[in-house]
């Protein structure tokens, strides 16, 4: 995945990262290196496997007690204007008195600075982001007045308003019907030309044909820099027979397995 004439920059570099909650280890010796252009990385794993924790490590919201985290060669705190974040959808209060436009503008705060009004540049970036996700015509709507898929696109626009070089999505497909999920993936497929994208999901069937690489996470991260998952990794991640969890997964994601069902 080399591009001629471009200096390769490491998007993410995690070395031996450990985190815990109380006495329980959540992430164990996680190593991950992503180089530009990295396309769309899907991180799958069961609920409670540490996926959201790993995203929080990327975002600098959680400090590992061991190991180092670098984004674009800097600490997560120093690379905030390069990272766009789409949080888990179910956290929101959709009755909140805020319009689509105001939501997307909040994605500019890492650029605008404290105590300043949003500049014309901020407004232009918000407008572009809304146009990218084809939601500009809804800019004056209160977010509760949108469908699930439309809201998800607004939150992606908020992340895009940052002009990120890395886009992080936490379970972006939850709560979306299959048609809306497909639209989401096509959008991500367009976006990945301009930025690295990491998407976390517990839903194996969501790992669609658009994903370029896959990693499995259940405390340990299994990652082979490819879009194929060795069956042993899947079994180690989910700790159950692969036949069961492989149901409904596009076949090309799974490696051919001798004697498999």
């Amino acid at each position: 995945m080399k591009v001629d004439g471009k200096v390769m920059e490491k998007v993410i570099e995690l070395k031996d990262v450990w985190t815990r909650y109380g006495n329980q280890v959540i992430l164990e010796a996680v190593n991950l290196e992503l180089e530009e252009p990295s396309g769309l990385l899907g991180i799958i794993g069961p609920n409670g496997g540490g996926k959201t924790t790993l995203l929080k490590v990327f975002l600098g919201l959680l400090k590992p007690y061991r190991g180092s985290v670098k984004l674009f060669g800097k600490s997560p705190e120093k690379s905030r204007d390069l990272v766009g974040y789409v949080p888990q959808y179910k956290r929101f209060d959709f009755d909140f008195p805020i319009s689509v436009w105001e939501v997307v503008l909040t994605g500019r705060m890492s650029h605008t600075g404290f105590l300043k009004k949003y500049s014309d540049e901020d407004k232009k970036a918000a407008e572009d982001a809304l146009k990218t996700v084809e939601m500009f015509q809804y800019k004056d709507r209160q977010i509760g007045q949108l469908s699930g898929g439309q809201r998800q696109r607004v939150f992606i626009a908020r992340a895009l308003a940052t002009n990120p070089k890395l886009l992080l999505l936490d379970e972006p497909n939850s709560g979306l019907d299959p048609h809306m999920q497909d639209e989401l993936y096509r959008l991500l497929d367009r976006l990945k030309k301009d930025m690295a994208i990491i998407m976390v999901t517990h839903d194996l069937s969501a790992v669609s044909i658009y994903v370029d690489r896959i990693a499995c996470l259940n405390r340990k991260l299994h990652y082979h820099n490819s879009r194929e998952i060795p069956v042993e990794d899947l079994e180690a991640t989910y700790q159950c027979p692969v036949e069961l969890i492989a149901h409904g997964v596009p076949h090309r994601v799974l490696e051919k397995h001798n004697g498999g069902s």
Binding site: L61, R91, S99, G107, M109
Partner: protein, 273 residues
């Protein structure tokens, strides 16, 4: 009725009603949308410690409650987020601790504590001119802080985690929000008293939410509601010779009940069979 306006206590009462409505109209909106009613109630009640301290030191209790409410806000905001015990338990403990301190201070004060009931339940008809100036100054601070931090507060209330990721110091911002809630409580004390403050912080804002989806307009509408209803409450309490703070809250609750019920009836039509 207009003859009444010549009395300075009536003029003061009306000024107090307007100033209180501005503070609770603006800050109540944050309290409601950020769902921090309980911690706001905690700050209000814990502030009683400051009133007791004022009596004990022999100073105007308003000068006791001002620093004490800010201190309560800072301690509550920090402890509830940082400690290992659940947030609501931490608030419950500090809530009663502040009140207990107040009672101890009052009991240590030699002689009789005049106007104690005024601080607990409010009496808008006895607000002195000095307190009006204090309320005006606090209103100016509140409006100024909200003007400066409007976009940060909006993002904080909507999505605290994302705001942190944007590089905004959200913990400090949250403490600032709690501090201006504390100032609002000080503004409201003379109107409805510490015990009833939470009604003014929640009812006008909740009511305004039924009419708009815009935060700024919510602030405007809840300020208007607060003003109209508290003036009506003052009139009613004068006419009925009833306690003013409690009367204002009864009118507020009544209006809220009628509006909420009426709108549910209207919305129910057409959406339900």
């Amino acid at each position: 009725m207009f003859d009444l306006l010549q009395y300075s206590f009536v003029q003061n009462a009306l000024a107090a009603a307007v100033l209180a409505s501005i503070a609770c109209g603006i800050i109540g909106v944050y309290v409601v949308v950020k769902k921090i009613v309980f911690i706001s109630g905690g700050i209000a009640h814990a502030s009683f410690g400051g009133i007791g301290l004022g009596y004990y030191l022999g100073i105007n209790p308003m000068f006791g409650v001002l620093p004490f409410s800010i201190l309560s806000a800072l301690v509550m905001g920090t402890v509830s987020k940082k400690s290992k015990i659940p947030e609501d338990s931490a608030i419950g403990i500090l809530w009663s601790l502040g009140m207990a301190l107040g009672i101890i201070f009052v009991s240590l004060t030699p002689g009789y504590a005049p106007d104690l009931m005024t601080y607990l339940f409010g009496n808008i008809l006895t607000v002195p001119r000095f307190d009006i100036y204090l309320m005006l100054a606090l209103d100016l601070i509140i409006v100024g802080v909200v003007y400066l931090f409007y976009k940060e507060f909006l993002s904080l209330c909507f999505d605290e985690e994302f705001t942190t990721v944007q590089g905004v110091p959200t913990q400090k911002l949250y403490l600032l929000l709690l501090c201006i809630i504390a100032l609002t409580i000080v503004v409201l004390i003379k109107v409805v008293g510490i015990i009833l403050v939470i009604a003014l912080l929640t009812i006008p804002a909740t009511l305004s939410r039924k009419f708009t989806h815009d935060l700024k307009r919510m602030m405007l509408i809840s300020t208007l509601f607060g003003t109209v209803i508290s003036v009506a409450g003052i009139g009613l309490s004068y006419a009925l010779d009833a306690p003013s703070g409690a009367t204002i809250i009864l009118v507020l609750s009544l209006v809220y009940g009628v509006v909420a019920f009426g709108m549910e009836m209207l919305e129910g039509r057409g959406t339900l069979n």
